[in-house]
Symmetry: D2
Subunit: 428 residues, 4 copies
């Protein structure tokens, strides 16, 4: 665990340079009419959950190149998130993936979470792989399977996942369902019946979990199936949620769209319907690439946050609070570094979105002043908000440069020494 | 106008060869348990409307290369569709495009339609271009426009379009709305407000047209706007229809999808919801290419028809009757030839879909016998149904080879002589 | 091993029905001027190699659902291909993947190949995964790596792979290089230097393998890297081959293209340059989906064969003989069934391409008679060639219905009994 | 024409704010080791040509919504570019489009150019439309046409275009060929012959224009043809240039790529080959959308400039000087405003690319320090370079805020008064 002293040591050497930049930026923002304290407060308060599966080196079907020192247990995963949170003060929660993250000693896990100032924010079921002790295979589907006993097994698994989550703390009230069900060949699926079976299964899960829990329903156009996915697009996810209940909500994963999709418009649509439940952040150039968030299309990420900020600020929008999560894989980067970069990119996009002069923007939109509207949005994006994000991290007790801290302190080397060169994260 | 004698002359020379093939195929189909008469009856009965705008040479923003002899008036457009229908007996109706197809003499037009055994099946509004006498411009939108007076103008236009259609015959009870509204740049649109304004406009149109009319709402991801379209996907279209009324239905245009979309699944989805109102057939490799139907992805066209046939045959599906229309542009082909090819491709796909052994397919699907299910579907596709489609045309009084008839009789040459080398179809 | 008697038993029950269809089709083809014997001969002679890695159940990064009975050794892989070849008489060769398929007893392997009437046609290197005993990791590339010692290791591996192949028979004169090298993030690669290093490595391999060997250089736009691949497109592959030598040739994998690519045009281009060396067949809807060949876009497959047949028949084209290979993964189908379907689809496309009336086609092309040219191509595609493909298989001693044979004889069940339910194919 | 006094008036009110920002940024850049004067000099010197066709309101095949005041002649187009250049001091040249921009009085045009401190930098031929007086139609192609007389007409046109350019000044030594030739349907083109005819035509043009001229060969995957384009990708363009001559070079248009293409890698590739001749800048979300440059993917634009700057700075790269041009259409924006925004986006990307610490980057690349390499690139992108671009404009005599100047001085209103509300730019 990283001590406050270490953080302060790190910061002290960087403070002068930071203050210089921050003084200039904060003056500039105040001139533009922003409340600098309010900005810092909002950005510091923005927390993004880290999924337990993102702490090991991921890979592709072609191979995996682990860097070593991966967390071998739930406890070590918590330690890694604790490390990240100590550095950036922005990752105070974890998304668990069941069956891998089932705690052996619930009380001890809760203590460990407390020690790291972390909570479990949500739990994720897994019906896209077969576990050793499993009675029925999910090869041909889970919630959409033609056989009722397979569906029941998948429904029960989801309900059990929620139970495990509930035991880990009152903050955990979200079940995320990524349904990998689909078909690889024309003719394989009866589309209408498969949809109806999926809906029935979702209703059964919804009825089986606590009444104050939210069910997040993810969509994805392809992979692991390459002809059809049972929930390929937001429209399908939305229609399922409509029929399931108020606390059934759509989850948007940035990598789960066909080429050229305008994702920010989907975000606006779902908020307008009050059905945007959460986000999986990652970066994407081709498909579900699971790259570092913001590494490929930072402007798109900003435009998405622009919609989110406007939607959250608009009293006419009756969307529930959102679950913010990272969902990425790490093939060539250290997972901790990748997560630190992702959080930085998310906060950068959020900070820039907060700078948009929405009043002037709405006026330009009403008047169809296209150039003006675009320039307003663009001005926020062009602003260098690194000092603002750093200041908010500083005030929250984090490190001015988390990446540098991680590297300079040889943390990966120490993790390898402790856990071994060939430690493999559970679930990978 | 083509006489029955001409058709019979044409057919007589081809009959022997046709009969030989048909005898073989019909024997084969009967062995497989099909009722050949029923197949012929269904295929002969399948009618696809021709849109009035498809009778001239289209083009792209880069240029237009007309072949000459284009119809200069509604009357000449009717004559062209009459010609097509006389040859293929499958295009007994026309989709009108207002303002270009406003009849000067309604009674005369109705007589002309009767003479050609045609009806008007639907009317299409146009709010994506400015007309000379128009008070407000649609440059920044029509049904979604920020100014109420512009929206009102667009709503009134739609209602008037329905009135014009209603006057032309009792068969016309469908208003097709393709809404080109959208934005070209980030910031230009307030997505949520633009959606809400569009919904209000659609409701006003719905309330303003006769109670037994259907409103078809088309979606399209891009073009003519290149950042966002107000109705980019089926999910948006569906949500608008849900809130507008039972007779608001989604129209699927085959070219209006992002790359790699599984369109057949969308078709199944919408039929399952009872919200598939109609089809715009065309061929597409990249986007809204508006090529000849089936010219690029004939297997996809067949798979779509497979869903349509299954949906229409399933008593559990409560989808209304669909409006079948071609919507294509003709850059390098004679428009009449292109339309004849399109109808042939549509009927081929329909005929093959009728051959699918659905009982065996559903069994294989239930049992997750993937290879078997695929082979059943594929067997229907591999069948050479050209004799079946020809036989159904023959029995309906059409030509055995409409394309050959058109070419051999020098019809385009005669149209050019009659209408001129540089005649330009109204609306182009 | 399957005996001729078993094949004849199988065929005898199906012969009457087949002959009936074949009589009709062959008469029809003769009427059209085709030499039926020539067609049968060509189709029977067309052989497609099976890659050793395609005999197990593949999967995605999300999981794998093996059906059991997978080949546990090179010998069992040969047995599986032998089985396929016995049934379809079209898969007389195997592509090996080193390091997994290194024979322990070369003489014994050669005897086994002889017994199954098989040859090794090509060998594939693997520098996209780290092997246990490997000195340097390929995490950051192999042939493009910044460190010369890593490149040397990868070069040496490729040369050794060719040596292994050469020992297995004189027919093996092809080294296939799929280079997974690439980068996941902007800034990671110095594009120009990485290209130059790759070129140098290719030259070294080319110089290190026997002088009569062909080097096939594959391209792929993404996966396993998601920002850039060192050889993303045919242009890069072609430029590398140009600089490497005459026997460096481009390999086209059908799944390795960006959305909407016109692959048949690339095929024509490369043949025109004399640089098309080989093919990896598979089916694709979204990316490198590795589905059954022809399962998604059969018309495209046919159009590709149309170019291949025209190129092979044209004396002006100085392209070498091509290496035909399947490269697919099998997630939800039995691998053997999948391969049988793939070969059937390939032969179907080839047979249809042979039916194209090229003389008339070229005339129509010269005269810009677009409709006529398209109808000529389409007529070949619409023809039901299943009896033709079956007849060519029959005459070659294969089964009339390989899939049915495989299923009815419970072959998978027997493989599971022999090899075990959880046998995993080496290399997976 | 805008006077220096007007510019100075405009600047004086903004100078204090600008100086404040610039002082801060220049100090920061100096701390990082940059020569601020050198940066300003380079950015000020970067000039982007405006194409004559971009001065009117473009549109799509669905319609056009002109704002009025469009230039009705070459002289008025020069005036518009002169206005842009007076404001941004970065657009000192024009790309002409023949046949529309043929000067009636060459000497007068040259005087006018001089008065505006402008030159003609390149000329563009047009063989994608038929002109009234044209003997042969380009409906079925121009340089690739099957008939030699059509090809000759197109070749002669290209040569004549170069002659017209040569007469307008010694700076004009570039002929840009965008070849719209292609096919809409399978079977239409004989791919290999069409390629060979195209190559012959290019060679004839190359031989027919002055020996010191450069021929730029553009590629585009689709539109206006939707099955195949004769030059669909950089590989085809490159192969044609290789066979044509040293001064045949590839032109990259940012909108001419399939979805998800890594354009920056293509840029690096072509520079490495010494074959990157020029650029058409525009913005793109779906295809050849021709939006404002940088409006959709500013990070990609920066990454492209990163490759350009590295390539131009590397003595090992023997690429000729590049032709920088904007090629956009303006559907919903004022063309002049759109062009001002595009130039600003280009200069922003260029300025940021100049800030990349290439020495550190190359070190990180060599060491495969992925995170570090990415952070170096990203740091440059995150920098707010607006003061730097403004300062370079200021020092060159331009306006601090060209867009504001254009709006506040009511220039469009004055152009409408002068040229009329319905003036249509020649060529649209």
């Amino acid at each position: 665990m990283i001590s406050n002293e270490q953080i302060q040591d790190h910061n002290s050497g960087r403070l002068q340079l930071h203050n210089h930049s921050w003084d200039h930026l904060s003056a500039q923002l105040q001139e533009q009419g922003h409340s600098v304290n309010e900005l810092v407060r909002k950005i510091a308060g923005f927390q993004v959950a880290v999924p337990s599966w993102a702490l090991g080196t991921g890979g592709t079907r072609f191979g995996r190149f682990p860097a070593g020192g991966e967390p071998r247990s739930l406890e070590e995963k918590i330690a890694d998130v604790g490390l990240i949170h100590a550095l950036n003060r922005s990752s105070n929660s974890i998304s668990l993936h069941i069956p891998w993250d089932i705690p052996r000693d619930t009380a001890a896990v809760k203590d460990l979470l407390n020690a790291h100032q972390l909570v479990i924010d949500s739990v994720n079921s897994n019906t896209f792989q077969d576990q050793k002790d499993q009675e029925f295979s999910y090869k041909f589907g889970s919630l959409c399977h033609t056989r009722p006993e397979v569906r029941k097994q998948a429904i029960d698994h989801n309900i059990r996942v929620a139970e495990i989550g509930a035991r880990l703390g009152a903050e955990c009230k979200t079940l995320t369902i990524w349904l990998a069900d689909g078909s690889n060949f024309p003719g394989q699926h009866h589309f209408r019946r498969a949809y109806e079976r999926t809906l029935d299964s979702l209703k059964a899960i919804y009825a089986g979990i606590p009444a104050d829990w939210t069910t997040l329903v993810e969509y994805k156009p392809y992979e692991p199936h390459f002809y059809s996915m049972i929930i390929p697009d937001w429209g399908t996810s939305y229609s399922l949620c409509q029929q399931t209940g108020d606390r059934a909500q759509v989850l948007v994963d940035l990598g789960h769209h066909l080429p050229n999709t305008n994702i920010e418009q989907i975000v606006a649509r779902l908020m307008h319907f009050g059905r945007l439940g959460g986000f999986h952040f990652n970066g994407s150039m081709y498909g579900d690439d699971d790259l570092t968030t913001g590494s490929i299309k930072p402007y798109q990420l900003f435009l998405i946050f622009n919609e989110l900020v406007q939607g959250m600020d608009d009293p006419a929008v009756r969307n529930p609070d959102l679950a913010w999560m990272i969902d990425a894989s790490h093939n060539t980067k250290d997972p901790v570094e990748d997560l630190l970069q992702s959080v930085q990119a998310i906060k950068t996009a959020y900070a820039k979105a907060l700078l948009v002069d929405t009043e002037a923007l709405f006026e330009a939109q009403e008047a169809n002043e296209v150039v003006k509207a675009e320039e307003i949005v663009r001005a926020a994006f062009e602003t260098d908000v690194r000092p603002l994000v750093a200041e908010s991290r500083l005030q929250a007790g984090g490190a001015l440069d988390p990446l540098a801290f991680f590297g300079e302190n040889g943390i990966r080397r120490r993790l390898i020494e402790e856990r071994g060169r060939y430690a493999v994260a559970t679930g990978l």
